[in-house]
Amino acid sequence: MLLEVENVIKRFPVRGGFLGKPTAYVHAVNGVSLHVKGGETLGIVGESGCGKSTLARLIVRLLAPDAGAIRFDGQDLVACSRSALRAIRRDLQIVFQDPFGSLNPRMTVGDIVAEPLVIHDIGAGGERRRRVEELLTLVGLSGDVAHRYPHEFSGGQRQRIGIARAIALQPKCIVADEPVSALDVSVQGEVLNLLMDLQRTLAIAYVFIAHDIKVVAQVSHRIAVMYLGQIVEELPAEKLLEARHPYTRALLAAVPIADPTRRERAAPLGGDVPSPITLPPGCPFHPRCKYREANCLTDPPALLPQGPNHRAACHYVDKVLADILP
């Protein structure tokens, strides 16, 4: 297993009052477990504020988890030393959502892409310059853009630069945190294709995070659905239409699918994600769930197997199934 995340918890203190003592906590990630095999794409989908980005930053160890374990290539990311972490980072990179904030405006594109090489002392002078040109060509830009500054590029081009930086060290895994959410739809497709091409040629595993289930379904091998800092369903991408968690159903129902034989017309999901400061007791989804029963308010459902590689956390999977099967 390339990447293993086990029961990871992260909460952020809300400070206030005397001497800035924490008065409450934002429960961003509440016991997430997942794994990624080499060369595969795990898609993580969920609404804004469900802890996706926090999870991404935990995986690449930009944040330290409060509890739980993260292992990459068999090495513990949480307890390892600074130098060990530095070595691991060669194989574990991140691509960010905001193509404008993720590139240093004072550095040339060449310097930005070369930075990981410089940090890990790979190559020198002309060799490094050639490698940078090669990387830029690989992501579909011409090698001679290296001396230009980020502000001269469009969002899609900037995202390509960010991807070139991420693949500079030939990592085994890239965490892509909403890599196309900030882009125009036409550009989204190009960047998604680039990511998939790179996976084929370089055998990179992705943790692909997005709020758009359509995009996730397009690029992923397996999909994990996140709600309020928890994984509520996990299933192979080709089984997505057989999803059994009411939340996944709601996400699917919100996607327009050109299929006149589809009968399901679920009501769009009402309400908002509850505050992650005071989590609802029982099932985190119960305040918005149309299948809710009394025990949903008190007993948190476990993530139970539903089939090969398919798990869902819902007490009333049967009721959902009855609804979706003709």
Binding site: R57, V60, R61, L62, L85, R86, R89, R90, L92, Q93, I94, F96, Q97, D98, G101, S102, L103, N104, P105, R106, M107, T108, I112, E115, P116, I119, H120, H147, Y149, P150, H151, G162, R165, L169
Partner: protein, 282 residues
């Protein structure tokens, strides 16, 4: 390969501000005068001639002579050297101290930030001018003492500015990307944070040079600045004042020099501030 694209843009913007350009020109002329003081001054600033005391301006003595018959033009030109030196060195010291402390506070946060921020607040509590006055009364007048004392008392503004910029920038994705690539603290601070925080520091430093020159002039005027034989604008003004009723022109040149220089630096500061406006942020 143009490495300074941002500063090229800033310069272009700065050039649109005609008054700021004029200010820059004035500073340039002053700087040349300061460097070439020995030639531009025509006379020695300390050579006295008791047969030519308190003379009005003439072709021989452009700005007249003082009560010891010293040529005021020569003293003014040498005073420019002292004033600019104090301005730049003092600001250099406090910008360095301010950047260092502000960077540590903003980057590391936690108790480092707590202590540095408290120190900044403590420094803010002192009226800076009187603090400088008190310290100088102990260490004695000399231009080096003035530089160091101004430098070590005026950093809180810069420190606070840099701390704020670092706090803001630290959470930006490009900084996080660098950390995720394995960059160390030094690299993150000096390659990513500092270049992006430098513009407002530069503006503040420009205004700082003006106020440092003013502080030196005020100190010298009060007699706490430099020893009397060292020509500075403040000391020339202070000495000339005693003879206001019989040689009023002596006060004119140091007064005007201080006024023009301070205005020039302030104009340049304003021009720079406009030029690095966030709308220009690239």
């Amino acid at each position: 390969m143009t490495r300074e694209a941002y500063w090229v843009l800033v310069w272009r913007q700065f050039c649109k501000h005609k008054l700021a350009l004029a200010g820059l020109a004035v500073i340039g002329v002053m700087a040349i005068m300061a460097v070439l003081a020995a030639w531009v001054g025509r006379y020695s600033p300390t050579a006295y001639d008791l047969e030519a005391m308190l003379q009005p301006p003439s072709p021989a003595h452009w700005f007249g002579t003082d009560e010891l018959g010293r040529d005021v033009w020569a003293r003014m030109v040498h005073g420019t050297r002292v004033s600019l030196q104090i301005g730049f060195v003092a600001v250099g010291i406090y910008v360095a101290v301010g950047i260092l402390l502000g960077a540590l506070a903003g980057y590391y946060g936690g108790w480092v930030d707590l202590w540095i921020s408290r120190l900044i607040e403590v420094m803010y509590c002192f009226p800076t001018f009187f603090l400088i006055l008190a310290v100088l009364a102990f260490v004695g007048p000399s231009i080096y003492n003035i530089m160091i004392v101004i430098g070590l008392t005026s950093w809180p503004g810069i420190a606070r500015l840099v701390r704020g910029e670092f706090l803001k920038l630290r959470s930006q994705d490009f900084v996080q990307a660098s950390i995720a690539a394995g960059a160390g603290d030094i690299r993150v601070m000096f390659r990513h944070l500092l270049p992006n925080a430098l513009a407002p520091v530069l503006v503040s430093a420009t205004f700082g040079v003006a106020s440092a020159i003013l502080v030196e002039s005020s100190l010298s005027y009060l007699g706490f600045g430099v020893p009397p034989y060292v020509p500075t604008w403040g000391s020339i003004l202070s000495q000339a004042q005693e003879f206001m009723d019989i040689a009023w022109w002596l006060t004119l040149s140091p007064g005007l020099a201080i006024f023009i220089t301070i205005t020039a630096f302030n104009l340049v500061g304003e021009g720079l501030r406009d030029a690095i406006d966030p709308r220009l942020r690239v």
